[in-house]
């Protein structure tokens, strides 16, 4: 039993070392990062939209982490934004960095496409972008006979919507679109090297 115990204790200790270097130390360092002045906390609606983003797995095709142009220039040249810094994610619980770019990076999609109508229409029928393989989110919309006061109608176009009635966005669709619009990190990041006034 002694040797079996030694193996188990030894392997647990090694994992402890890894936890120290990969979990504890980054946690300490990152939590002391400066929060950029331009970063706003999410509103209740945007947070609800963020949950819809999580529930429907947007992160499996979209990243939220533009990289340094000196490393991957495509990120800047596709207008995905400046490199993100840890402080940008202060209010992100959990983080949604993502690891796939089947679709484009969304870290600044709110700045790139600042139209609520476009986002709603695109969620209803992503193929308004020709060739897109994004799945439709029609289940976030409902069809009504008459559009009530305060409801947001979208116009999918002939042949793309239902034969009768009007398509209106549900609370979920609106929240999700508002969250996408809130993805705007174009403010300056204090922790990045500044081009004109080098701080250090």
């Amino acid at each position: 039993m002694k040797r079996a115990l030694a193996i188990m204790v030894g392997s647990a200790l090694i994992l402890l070392l890894a936890t120290l270097t990969l979990v504890v130390m980054p946690y300490i360092q990152i939590s002391s990062e400066q929060v950029p002045d331009g970063l706003k906390p999410y509103t209740a609606q945007q947070l609800e939209g963020r949950q819809i983003y999580i529930a429907n797995g947007c992160l499996y095709c979209h990243s939220q982490q533009p990289r340094d142009p000196s490393y991957a220039p495509g990120d800047r040249d596709r207008h995905w934004g400046r490199p993100s810094v840890p402080g940008d994610y202060t209010y992100d619980k959990p983080q949604l960095l993502g690891t796939m770019r089947t679709g484009p990076d969304l870290f600044n999609v709110g700045a790139r496409i600042p139209s609520l109508d476009w986002h709603l229409l695109h969620l209803y029928n992503p193929q308004i972008v020709p060739g897109s393989i994004m799945p439709p989110y029609r289940f976030l919309f409902k069809v009504v006979d008459e559009v009530a006061e305060g409801e947001k109608e979208i116009h999918p176009g002939k042949g793309f919507g239902p034969e009768k009635g009007h398509v209106v966005a549900t609370e979920e669709a609106l929240a999700l679109a508002e969250y996408l619009l809130a993805l705007d990190h174009t403010y300056p990041a204090p922790t990045l090297p500044q081009p004109d006034t080098m701080k250090e």
């Binding site: 990152i30 992160l59 960095l97 690891t99 796939m100």
Partner: protein
């Protein structure tokens, strides 16, 4: 560089150095002194040189010529029967479920409107359902089931407390049903590999802990003086997984960017410290056992074990190279990823070196064919992984289908092949019955092999081209998407073949449980044996 970063760097460096010095010290002081003798503990007296492939008519043969050691082994095998069967049976159920979701997700990538109106089948939900079903359902449950069978054999004593493992499997299965249901309802925790809501994760902790009970009790009763290397891997894996799973799932602890480091520290450790040790541990048993030949270097296998523990535990951050996290952290993970070639090469020398001169057996033994191809793919996918962690390669492959291909090379061509092979070995031992149809094993083998080959090649090519195009803004994004479509279609073809293979396998497994086919006194091999009968028990 700020002082904090400098200090962190120094601490990390010191810690790694201490780890390395400890390793060197233990080698110098003969902590690995078992020597070649220990490599023979898996054989009964006089068994070396005789291959063991699925059962002879064990009971009758034993009754006619009693052999104390073989009788004891037969009892050890029978003692784990119920527990191992429950875990392996559940695993096979989950691979069918997982394949279905995987195949559907794959199809939806080139036919996005398929089932488009249903939130239950939207891509972003079924993709994580696939991952969780095959990781925690198939791979983990099959691994635990095989471990439950191997532990009594390795310790040469019957399994004690098997009922705890059975109870554990019930809880684990409930956890899977609830967890997958939660993802399907949109209640995911939102991080890859950690989608199950943390409340449900508690079930896995309890289920896993219940499995540890019989393993520890049996380890206490063991009658062998040497712990064979397979037991090292199994024991360590069973220590690592609960710690990892617990820390990573602690709710509300790691916000923002530090959540990403924990996320990928965990996700890669599920591969590195959970399924990899299970996979190579099983291969370390099966290859020498079927060949009837001890592994060529026992010392090397132990160095491989400790270096795997040291290096694999710190590679996770190579999943966020270029991301918003400290550079020292990324560099640390890249260094460890490259260092991983040490354990990989030691394992390769042992696995493939032991095969030298015995490759002919691949023609007849199903277990050996599956397990050795799995071991070969371990070497391949690990070396590929070390390359992928380099910044210059990662800048191309990151965020593309290339990574998905690599993940399947590891989880499928390496791990699942070894699990398939081991199940072909174990079942006749547990059921005292031979596999009913030789051709079904053959069909299973060819379907999954051709399937994964198509899968891997198509996504590797697609991912590489995708990565090159994404480097600059010269190609329109939508043109890149269009370029990948034929490859995604090919992936669906590969996935279909793999799923068909799993259906064949599951059918055969059921037939085996029901003892269909005719009673046989020879192992079911790919081709009728011409080898002298006494060469294979």
């Amino acid at each position: 560089m700020t002082p904090t970063i400098a200090i962190l760097l120094i601490i990390t460096f010191l810690l790694s150095t201490v780890g390395l010095l400890l390793l060197i010290w233990s080698i110098a002081n003969n902590q690995f002194s078992h020597g070649q003798e220990a490599a023979r503990t898996i054989f009964s007296s006089g068994e070396e040189g005789i291959g063991e492939d699925p059962a002879e008519k064990s009971t009758e043969a034993l009754a006619s010529s009693p052999d104390v050691e073989l009788l004891a082994r037969h009892q050890a095998d029978q003692s784990s029967r119920k527990a191992a069967l429950v875990w392996i049976g559940s695993a096979i159920f989950w691979i069918i479920v997982g394949s279905f979701y995987g195949l559907l997700a794959s199809t939806k990538m080139h036919i996005p409107d398929l089932l488009g109106s249903s939130e239950w089948f939207t891509f972003g939900r079924i993709r994580p359902m696939h991952l969780n079903a095959v990781t925690y359902g198939w791979a983990s449950m099959a691994g635990i089931g095989i471990a439950l069978f191997l532990i009594p054999r390795l310790f040469k004593t019957p399994l004690v407390g098997g009922k705890y493992a059975i109870l554990g499997s019930v809880i684990w299965n409930i956890g899977l049903v609830l967890g997958l249901g939660a993802i399907n309802m949109g209640l995911s925790d939102g991080m890859e590999w950690l989608e199950f809501p943390w409340q449900i994760d508690l079930l896995f902790v309890v289920g896993g802990a219940l499995c540890a009970v019989p393993l520890l009790l049996t380890a206490k009763n063991r009658t062998v003086s040497h712990l064979y290397v397979t037991s090292w891997y199994l024991l360590a894996a069973l220590v690592w997984f609960p710690i990892l799973f617990f820390i990573a799932n602690m709710p509300f602890t790691f916000p923002g960017a530090s959540g990403a480091t924990v996320n990928w520290w965990f996700a890669h450790n599920v591969l590195g410290l959970w399924v990899t040790p299970l996979g190579i541990g099983i291969a370390y048993y099966m290859i020498p056992k079927i060949l009837g030949r001890p592994i060529i270097s026992y010392q090397l296998s132990l160095i491989g074990f400790w270096s795997l523990a040291l290096f694999y535990s710190q590679v996770g951050i190579h999943h966020i190279i270029g991301g918003p996290i400290p550079t020292w952290l990324v560099t640390l993970s890249i260094v460890h990823s490259v260092m991983m070639s040490i354990p990989v090469i030691t394992v390769a020398i042992n696995h493939h070196g032991t095969m030298m001169g015995n490759f002919g057996r691949l023609k007849d033994s199903p277990t050996l064919r599956f397990v050795w191809i799995g071991a070969l793919m371990y070497t391949a996918s690990s070396l590929q992984g070390s390359m992928e962690a380099l910044r210059s390669v990662n800048v191309i492959t990151h965020f593309t289908h290339y990574t998905v291909a690599h993940a399947h090379l590891g989880m499928y061509a390496f791990l699942s092949f070894i699990l398939f092979g081991a199940i072909y070995f174990i079942m006749p031992r547990l059921m005292n019955w031979e596999w009913p149809w030789r051709r079904l094993i053959s069909l299973h083998f060819w379907l999954v092999s051709i399937g994964i080959l198509i899968y891997f090649l198509s996504l590797t090519i697609a991912g590489w081209k995708q990565g090159l195009d994404l480097l600059t803004a010269d190609t329109y994004f939508m043109d890149i998407v269009r370029m990948t479509i034929p490859y995604l279609e090919a992936r669906t073809l590969g996935g279909t073949l793999m799923t068909m293979g799993h259906l064949v396998f599951a059918f055969h497994f059921l037939a085996m449980l029901l003892r269909r086919g005719e009673s046989r006194d020879q192992p079911t091999l790919f081709r009728p044996v011409n080898v002298k009968k006494e060469m294979i028990r």
